[in-house]
Amino acid sequence: MNEQSPLNGDGGDATSSRLAMDRLLERPISSAALDENTRLAAQRHEEVEADELTILITRIGDEWLGFDARFADRVHEPAIIRRVPHRNSEHLAGVAAVDGEIVPAARLDLLLDLVRDTSPAEPRFVVVGPPDRRWAIPVDEVEGMVRVPRAMIIDPPTTISASLHRHTVGLISLDGRLAALLDSARLLDLLDRGLR
């Protein structure tokens, strides 16, 4: 601010306005505002560095599975699945209508040798894949999105089932539970191949 400004012609006024400005600028910051700013700064940082992955955490049976959020872009209410004549791939449950599109629906539990719960808690369809290669994957539960630094993704140990092992790029620790981060590209290739 310029003191020679015609608006501040009088010296006394200039001093008091500067005091007012100091008060404004140096007022204590509320903790809520501080948190918000920290969050925004962190977010910006992440976008630049891209060292975090956003992962959609779901559950099938007693296994927690993570989908890269760039690959799994929607979660849908479960819909009716119709069987496809002359197509017997066990990974193919049939087709389902999701948001006005008819897409194949997968049996990930069979593909990954998972033991399915008898009564799924909150069944959902996870819609995965690019527009021309969409799949609906029925899961027993969707927990939500988590952000995980890439460095925190650990190599899968041999303790998980052999089939799951093959389709997992890493494990994520979630409050003591381990979720398998699925290999999206591999999964999609495998599923698509079962359609013919």
């Binding site: 119709r82 002359h86 209508a97 006005g100 194949p104």
Partner: protein, 771 residues
């Protein structure tokens, strides 16, 4: 605006040039046919040439500016009466139009190459255009005293009269051209017509994927709006319950329970509110249904185009072709405004081009031949489109020489399709069907026009692909008519819904004879096959579940629900679990990742938003014929394979031509082999899935899945990697042979091999059997 972001200036020029070239061409041909229209009809041509010139100037294409300018000058000269558009002049102008159009077809990067390549031709055209004006102007100055020649003479010079209006009687084009119609009446109607057309053709290009999404959304809106019905039912139910409560409270009141008075008042208010809710919902329901139906209709309508949009090139093609062959042809388009699904329209262009060329080349006679036959020298070729019984009928009709049944029969015998006694019995459609066999041509001489090897079989397979049929009617000396029957749209289909093993399926109604419930008492079992009496014939029954590879379920033991499919040549009944009714289904193509699924044509969504499959009745029929023809279900053949070591070798013949198929079958049966047949690649693939075969004999050109695709598919499958495959095709070029062998065929034979005996030898060698 963002949609324009991706366009360069050149893209815009291309679009503009394309549009103007189309109007230049059609305008020129119209003018050539009706030179007296000059004043009125020349305006749009001048505008078109002028616009192209302007557009070319903007992007700095001087070469195109010069050309368009020269063309414009000619039009100006014509308008001023200094020039008349005779045939040569039209040729020059059309040449110019072609050059501009070819410019509209190239990429921006190719401009320079194009300019260099076409420079001489452009210069030549410009010179010709400029010279023509100079000559005419000079001539006009010389004969300034003499009266202008009557315009009729121009008609005499014109070899081809192109007339798009059907109203003009054919007599007007008798041998000596009648004087042109009074100049004021037709131009007025013509002008009115073209104004209307202009309005209709003001179109916006829509990305097909966007359109698809719009359709999905519109469908979604429709489905969502139906949910109101449920809400309304709930509210009504609530109202009903309140009513009951009110009655109860009323009774209590009579017994003097005072506090209930207050409760009653509340219930009254509640009911009032609910009634308001219901009436609101009713209004909303109606409105949403209206809007969504409208939206849906609009979006669907955007797929429909007038038939004439599909054949811009036809008049020109026919004119040039007739001129080259020295024939006189009057081409007429009738029913040009008939609305056709753009997908169908696009798929029609190639087969129609073929049939039209065929008509001019083979159907229509030379003028002197026509005169000798007492016919007008100018032949009439009509392309007609109309809706009939839910189908789109497209006819190509000419008054040419017709097909000579005797020479056709001779040809059939020559080709070895059938023997003479059988050929003599062939009549009408049955006889004409041979025209659609691959490689079959009745042309006495192979001309440049029709070429070799491109037969009507291509037309047939293209028409089959969109779910249509094609047939020929011909009378010797009178003319020939090709009729293409096509679905009006591939977007909506009226279907019967049936349930099989708990799954709903749609069967297009147009393909069904009827649905009926047959009491068990009317079903007889002969040799393990079930059948019932229907319209005087026996109809074999097949469990639909078996056909579809679904588990068989127990239906009603007393009455079977039967869908009768097929035509007079062969009908059969599909046993389903139950009928679910009829519904219009919005056809969605099957996800291409599925490849070809046997018996499935497309997918669709029911009103509750659940998916279902629409079955391909043709394909179902083929499978059934095979099942019934074999007298057993495929797959049961396997049992015999293991039990009988000395069993006959089994051969699968995959061939779409019934004649070739029959020839091959007979040869193989005579060799002591067991033979099954399939009518195309998909059918063959289905057969291979179910049965055991020692050898496959396949054709190359087949609808749905061709031979190359079939062989490739076989070789990619572990089970069929080693099965011997013989390709038998009309295609005898080295490249075709190579393609067949590369796909994995063990032998590649041409269809002549039947007579040479190489077919027999090859089959023996591959099966390892003694002669």
């Amino acid at each position: 605006m963002s949609d324009l972001g991706g366009f360069s200036m050149f893209d815009l020029f291309r679009e503009e040039a394309e549009t103007h070239c189309a109007s230049l061409e059609s305008g020129l041909l119209k003018l050539e046919a009706n030179p007296t229209d000059g004043g009125v009809a020349i305006e749009p041509l001048m505008r078109a040439a002028h616009s192209v010139k302007g557009a070319a100037r903007i992007i700095g294409l001087d070469i195109a500016v010069g050309l368009a300018h020269a063309m414009e000058d000619v039009f100006v000269a014509v308008q001023d009466g200094k020039e008349t558009l005779v045939s040569e002049r039209v040729d020059q102008l059309l040449a110019g139009t072609d050059l501009l159009r070819s410019l509209s077809k190239i990429d921006e990067a190719a401009i320079e190459g194009w300019s260099i390549e076409h420079k001489p031709k452009i210069t030549e055209t410009i010179t010709a255009l400029e010279a023509s004006i100079a000559v005419v102007v000079a001539a006009a100055e010389v004969v300034v005293q003499a009266p202008a020649p009557p315009p009729e003479t121009e008609v005499v010079e014109t070899e081809l009269v192109v007339e798009e209006s059907a109203e003009v009687p054919a007599a007007a084009f008798a041998e000596s051209p009648a004087p042109p119609p009074a100049s004021d009446a037709p131009p007025t109607s013509e002008a009115a017509l073209s104004r209307e057309q202009d309005e209709e053709s003001r179109t916006v290009r829509v990305d097909s994927s966007r359109l698809e999404r719009m359709m999905q959304l519109a469908g979604e809106v429709m489905i969502t709006s139906r949910r109101f019905q449920g809400i309304r039912a709930q509210a009504a139910d609530f109202d009903h319950r309140l009513e009951g409560m009110e009655g109860g409270v009323g009774a209590a009141l009579r017994d003097g329970h005072e506090p209930l008075r207050e409760l009653r008042r509340e219930i009254d208010e509640g009911r009032l509110a609910v009634a308001g809710l219901i009436s609101d919902l009713d209004g909303l329901l109606r409105r949403t249904e209206e809007i969504s139906a409208d939206l849906y209709g609009q979006v669907l309508g955007s797929r429909m185009r007038p038939f004439e949009d599909g054949g811009h090139g036809f008049p020109r093609m026919i004119r040039d072709l007739a001129k080259k062959l020295g024939k006189k042809v009057r081409f007429e388009v009738q029913g040009g405004r008939t609305r056709v699904d753009r997908e169908i329209l696009a798929s029609l262009e190639a087969p129609l081009t073929h049939v039209l060329r065929n008509a001019v080349d083979h159907g229509i006679e030379l003028p002197d031949v026509r005169r000798a036959a007492g016919k007008p020298e100018t032949a009439t070729l009509v392309l007609e489109a109309r809706h009939h019984a839910g189908m789109l009928l497209v006819r190509v009709r000419e008054d040419g020489g017709g097909i000579n049944p005797e020479s056709l029969r001779r040809k059939i015998v020559e080709r070895g399709f059938v023997d003479e006694t059988m050929a003599a019995r062939l009549e009408g459609p049955e006889l004409h069907d041979f025209l659609f066999l691959p490689g079959f041509s009745t042309a006495a001489a192979i001309t440049e026009v029709s070429g070799r090897g491109v037969g009507l079989d291509v037309v047939q397979s293209m028409v089959h692909e969109v779910g249509g049929a094609v047939r020929v009617e011909s009378t010797l000396g009178v003319g020939t008519t090709f009729e293409l029957q096509l679905p009006v749209t591939r977007s909506v289909v009226r279907a019967a819904l049936v349930e099989v093993d708990g799954e709903p399926f749609g069967l297009p109604l147009a393909r069904l004879s009827r649905v009926t419930r047959v009491p068990a008492s009317e079903i007889t079992t002969i040799e393990g096959r079930r059948q019932f009496q229907y319209e005087g014939g026996m109809i074999g029954l097949i469990r639909f579940a078996t056909l579809l590879g679904l588990p068989e379920t127990e239906g009603d033991p007393d009455v079977e629900s039967v869908v009768v499919v097929g035509d007079s040549t062969g009908r059969c009944g599909l046993v389903v679990d139950r009928f679910l009714g009829e519904q219009d289904l919005v056809v969605r193509r099957l996800d291409p990742r599925f490849g070809r699924v046997p018996h499935v044509g497309a997918s669709a969504m029911l009103e509750d938003g659940s998916p279902l499959f629409i079955l391909d009745v043709e394909d179902v029929l083929k499978s059934i014929r095979q099942l019934l023809g074999d007298g057993r279900l495929r797959g049961t053949g396997r049992d015999r394979v293991s039990s009988d070591a000395a069993r006959a070798k089994r051969v699968l013949v995959v061939e779409d031509s019934i004649t070739v198929r029959e020839v091959e079958r007979q040869i193989l049966v005579q060799m002591g082999l067991e033979v099954e047949t399939a009518v195309d690649g998909v059918d063959g693939w289905n057969a291979l899935q179910a049965g055991h075969y020692d050898l496959v004999v396949t054709d190359i050109d087949m609808p749905r899945m061709n031979g190359i695709e079939l062989v490739t598919t076989l070789r990619a499958d572990e089970r069929f990697k080693t099965i011997p495959v013989v390709v038998v095709s009309y295609k005898d070029r080295e490249a075709d042979r190579l393609a067949g062998m590369q796909a994995g065929a063990d032998a590649y034979l041409t269809k002549g091999s039947f007579r040479e005996g190489s077919f027999v030898t090859t089959v023996r060698d591959l099966l390892g059997i003694e002669a």
